[in-house]
Subunit: 340 residues, 2 copies
DNA sequence: TTGAAAGCGTTACCAA
DNA sequence: TTGGTAACGCTTTCAA
């Protein structure tokens, strides 16, 4: 019937064409105005008409269309993991997120099915992110990294205890934590050192390197290291405490403060005096550790970065194709308190 | 020079056209094969050729192009907040994420500048999500909700202490927590009850309704409620403990277990016996609270859902345009231990 | 069983 | 100062 240009149907999402029609200009002009394109002069009256039309229709540009046209995105993907990562990890993610947003990136956290690392990588590649910052354990394969590269990612960056071949690495070397705790215990004369290994799934990626660090520190000193599996439950801790004296240990590095507090309570309940009979040290320097008696010694982890991590990602994106870089983010320091 | 069809340049991202060229078929055929389109019969040999070509090139479809063509996404946006939300909140987010992924949605967490709720809503709208599950404090305005609707969102759902007009609500009623803790204290004969209010920014959204719940429970019993600001620092707790006796309180609901543990230690250090002189109850039922002496009483929050929250979101998406629904997710229950 | 072509919403180039 | 038009990569309808 109607010979008029297509009407925007009621329930449809308004497009720039709708705005153009309402303002009586072309789609190009709408684009110029709304993007404040400075290479082109648009009269103030036109600008106003376009802005009003956009406001009236509640026009919001379509990111996918823009992406398609631009040929690239400014999306940085932060795949989330259910690996137990600790407060320092969380802190750096928050830092990354706010920093990248300030640099005008769209930061998107994307959960991972976790079934298969390459499947994950493929799902991410479909989104054509300009960069991916992946927790280790999620994109371990060179395959996945290559796929992301081919899909246009300017930077693939791993974040975790170890670097991964072919990708840039933000390394939070957990061995430092273990060796720092162990050195602290050795300096105080303890020689037979237990290392708590959480049995909960997802802790291995952090616990193993902490153990390795403890071993490294002990090796030079002729001390011995004994891994001790523990679940985060009172029963598990009580059972361990019950057979504690048969282990013949004089100190324990308890993976982190949570496990340390759990174990220390169980030891005390079993009549084992801390630190006289067994010294205990945790990690993460939680406030709560300071509330126990004896106060819990701990390992504090600090972020040491020449430049903020977000700036680093930005640089890697802008100078793509350079050799994989490694950046160590963690400095560990023992905080002696009363428990060991 | 060459009259051949366009060659895929070396550094470029392979497209379905490249796959078609390599396999010697049309783009349409590529699409049929890779999407397992069953309305069309493709010979096995062609299928194989296409699959091999795709594999060889490392072809990954372009989500934005697909979205544009389809006219809609299957993206559920979970804006992240820096509001301190507690373990139950985290748990439900993880549940939502895994559940939605099973339902074949693309789950994306998107950080919020936090400057202005409507700016946030606009940024989300550009992504054309099919649903948004927003923590309260992020999309409070009817304006933002309308914008998301216009941008094609089938469901806008808030997740937090209170429902918000015009959106579906997953309500985690914090007043229940406060009233539950207070009732517990009242039943044990305490009448002058302090309520710890964290001073850290971002806690207000949760602390205020907990206080309101405490007030409500106290009102009927002729008890009095005294809000007590506290920073999560030993000094702040010590200062509060120092003037504790001047407050004339006989019990305290400490917002959560973290604050409860901090305060309880400070009270004990100031020579105030718990629970004889002052009863203490926290919330969240953390493992660590059980390790203190006296063991910390707490309020446990459980998720009660007729159907998993992800299924609920799915239903709201599929039956869009229905009246806003309210679903209460939280059931609170006092866990009496030794501290009060 | 396969191919040609249209069109999704945007932006950029070129012409007017 | 503004408008026409082509192109981004994909899916789908229609035609062969």
């Amino acid at each position: 019937m109607s010979q008029l240009p297509k009407q925007p149907s009621a329930g449809a999402v308004p497009t720039s064409a709708d705005v153009a029609r309402l303002a009586g200009v072309s789609r190009a002009t709408v684009s110029y105005v709304l993007n404040n394109n400075s290479t082109v002069r648009i009269s103030d009256s036109t600008r106003r008409r376009v802005r009003e039309a956009a406001g009236e229709l509640g026009y919001v540009p379509h990111a996918a269309a823009r992406t398609l046209r631009a040929g690239h995105t400014r999306m940085v993907l932060l795949p989330t993991t259910n690996h137990a990562a600790g407060p320092v990890h969380h802190h750096i993610l928050r830092e990354l997120e706010s920093g990248l947003r300030r640099l005008d990136y769209t930061v998107v956290q994307h959960g991972s099915p976790g079934t298969c690392a390459d499947e994950d990588a493929r799902a991410w590649a479909e989104l054509r992110p300009v960069a991916v910052v992946a927790p280790v354990g999620i994109v371990p394969t060179a395959q996945g990294i290559a796929m992301l590269r081919r899909a246009g990612a300017k930077a693939v960056i791993t974040l975790g205890p170890q670097p991964v071949d072919g990708a840039h690495a933000l390394v939070m070397d957990q061995r430092e934590v273990g060796s720092c705790a162990t050195t602290h215990l050795l300096e105080r004369g303890w020689r037979r050192i237990g290392v708590i290994m959480p049995e909960e799934p997802g802790f291995a990626a952090f616990a193993e390197p902490r153990l390795a660090g403890a071993r490294r520190a002990a090796a030079g000193a002729g001390a011995c290291i004994e891994p001790l599996p523990l679940r985060y439950e009172e029963e598990s801790a009580a059972a361990l405490a019950l057979r504690w004296r048969t282990l013949g240990l004089d100190a324990v590095f308890a993976y982190n403060d949570d496990y340390a507090m759990l174990l220390m309570r169980a030891l005390q309940d079993a009549g084992i005096e801390v630190p006289r009979e067994t010294a205990v040290i945790g990690a993460d320097d939680l406030m709560l550790g300071r509330l126990l008696r004896p106060r819990l010694s701990s390992v504090r982890m600090e972020l040491v970065t020449a430049q903020p991590p977000a700036d680093l990602v930005d640089r890697l994106v802008q100078h793509a194709g350079t050799e994989p870089e490694r950046h160590d983010l963690l400095r560990a320091r023992a905080i002696p308190r009363e428990s060991g």
